[in-house]
């Protein structure tokens, strides 16, 4: 393919996903509101929040180190890079060879380490508590995530996401039973990593239960806006990885402009469905005690392992 086309695709995808990510979060919240018989704030609410925060004066704790100031930018940068690597709209992106799935998990880990450090940086007890909990969830979720991705890699014989998408999406339809296990494990990891309900409640500020919110409690104004935007990007990135592995249809071929438009429409529809599904899951399930979380994630890990095992038994 020609280089210029690829770069245009890359820029288009990165910009579009960054712009659409808060909308996704708003859609999930709106669906939750509808399911709970509330009228809801409207799906553009996250944009309004970000807009409001960007115009406020940033307050930084007196004892905060430069790390605290730098973290929102690092976090946002990591998530932006992640959505640049995942084949959301097109498979043949210039950025894609930069990182395979393992490096992608590492990228998320980098962001997590920085947020946790920033949470502890100001020395408040809440930040430390949140950071500890986040790291506990993280170290349990990561192996489950890797196992899920390895199951997909075993089928397509590659750890690079574009190759996985091409193998799974652009051949004739074959049912892979191991993917059923991987999909459930991935869903559990997605809920845990993005601080959604069975593990963490994104809308709570109750000291006993919050995990992610506890870490970012000290942030304000533009820093908080970036952190919020980054967490909506993370959710979108995770959902996009899920699409790439489990429903990889409709992603554009290289240099196919009409395909790109179709891919965007398909992506929007899939995103809307996934958001509605997420809202349903969050509405029907209750938040777990924090000490049940290891069990939840151990289940995810073992399901992913089971997926790999079934791959060897049923698919070779």
């Amino acid at each position: 393919m020609n280089q210029a086309g690829g770069i245009v695709f890359q820029v288009l995808q990165s910009v579009l996903v960054v712009l659409i990510a808060p909308l996704m979060l708003g859609w999930v919240n709106q669906c939750r509101a509808w399911l709970q018989n509330r009228s809801g704030p409207g799906i553009t609410q996250p944009y309004r929040v970000i807009h409001k925060l960007l115009y406020k004066e940033a307050v930084v704790a007196y004892d905060a180190s430069p790390l605290f100031r730098a973290t929102p930018y690092i976090l946002f940068g990591c998530m932006w890079l992640a959505v640049g690597i995942v084949p959301v709209l097109a498979t043949d992106l210039p950025f894609a060879p930069a990182a395979d799935v393992v490096a992608l998990v590492g990228l998320f880990a980098l962001a997590r380490v920085f947020v946790s450090l920033a949470g502890m940086d100001t020395g408040t007890s809440f930040g430390t508590l949140g950071a500890r909990r986040e790291m506990m969830i993280g170290f349990l979720a990561e192996p489950a995530m890797l196992m899920t991705l390895f199951t997909a890699s075993l089928i397509s014989q590659s750890t690079s996401l574009p190759t996985i998408v091409e193998t799974l999406g652009q051949r004739e339809l074959v049912i892979y039973p191991s993917m059923a296990f991987a999909a459930i494990a991935f869903l559990m990891v997605l809920l845990a990593e993005n601080a959604r309900i069975p593990i963490d409640n994104p809308s709570t500020h109750l000291e006993l239960t919050m995990i992610h919110e506890a870490m970012i409690l000290e942030y304000s104004a533009r820093h908080l806006a970036l952190v919020e935007w980054a967490s909506s990007l993370k959710l979108t990135a995770y959902i996009a990885i899920g699409f790439a592995i489990f429903v990889p249809w409709g992603i554009a071929q290289p240099d196919d402009w009409r395909g790109l438009a179709i891919a965007f429409a398909v992506f929007t529809v899939k995103l809307a469905l996934a958001g509605a599904g997420l809202a349903v899951i969050e509405t029907v399930s209750a938040k777990m005690r924090i000490f049940r979380a290891p069990e939840f994630l151990a289940t995810a890990f073992l399901l992913a392992t089971l997926g790999m095992l079934t791959h060897f038994v049923l698919e070779t």
């Binding site: 089928i155 014989q157 051949r171 004739e172 074959v174 049912i175 892979y176 039973p177 191991s178 059923a180 296990f181 459930i184 290891p294 069990e295 151990a298 289940t299 073992l302 399901l303 392992t305 089971l306 095992l309 079934t310 060897f312 038994v313 049923l314 698919e315 070779t316």
Partner: protein
């Protein structure tokens, strides 16, 4: 590399159902509530009906349709209904406390699955049917149900374990050998039904004698 592409579509469907049956057997192992346990058992039965019907359609064996219908009536409708009624009558819908904690049980479960897969590998190599690779999965779900019976202390969840073990056996029979003769299946179905009824009566007696469904009370001898 990918031999899965070469097998026919219905066999792929059966493989998928096999994986789902294993998934349900696994989630039964981790389930704390008896009500959900019974619902999972019903779902496993429904998958079994589906797989039997697919085998019947693809191999053109009409007697398998009857056994699918029998499974539908018995394991999806009747037995879950009886079990739900029993749990309501005995008032045991709350959480069950497993003897070993759940993560440890799951690790044991994974070990069992690996064991079953290895055990079934040489057998499925000599089997002639196209869905032979599901034998390992059927064996794994039998062993998982067995594990569930061992690790649960309450009688109702043990019975669900027993019934789901029978599901695993039935699945092994249909997928690996295209079903047993109808007479045998009728016999087994009747056995399971009668077994559940007997268990039901038994539950009431256990509860009346010990005021609990915890079978640990049965280990102690005592004079009346």
């Amino acid at each position: 590399m990918n031999t899965v592409v070469n097998i026919p579509f219905y066999a792929q469907l059966i493989n998928l159902i096999a994986a789902l049956i294993l998934l349900i057997a696994f989630s039964m192992l981790t389930q704390r509530r008896i009500r959900s346990l019974i619902n999972l058992f019903a779902a496993q039965g429904a998958l079994l009906v589906l797989s039997t019907a697919i085998v019947a359609y693809s191999t053109g064996q009409p007697h398998l349709y009857y056994s699918a219908l029998l499974t539908l009536a018995l394991k999806v409708v009747l037995l879950p209904w009886i079990l739900h009624r029993l749990t309501r009558a005995l008032n045991v819908q709350w959480d069950v406390e497993p003897l070993i904690n759940i993560p440890a049980t799951m690790l044991l479960g994974i070990v069992l699955v690996i064991f079953a897969f290895n055990l079934a590998a040489p057998i499925s190599q000599i089997a002639g049917t196209i869905t032979k690779s599901t034998l390992g999965i059927a064996l794994a779900s039998i062993l998982l149900s067995f594990l569930m019976m061992i690790t649960r202390s309450k009688a109702v969840s043990q019975v669900v374990g027993f019934l789901s073990m029978e599901n695993g056996l039935f699945f092994a029979a249909t997928s690996a050998t295209y079903g047993m003769p109808l007479v045998v299946e009728l016999g087994i179905a009747l056995d399971v039904l009668v077994g559940t009824l007997v268990f039901g009566v038994f539950f009431f007696h256990i509860r009346e004698t010990f005021e609990s469904l915890d079978i640990h009370h049965l280990e102690k001898l005592r004079e009346r």
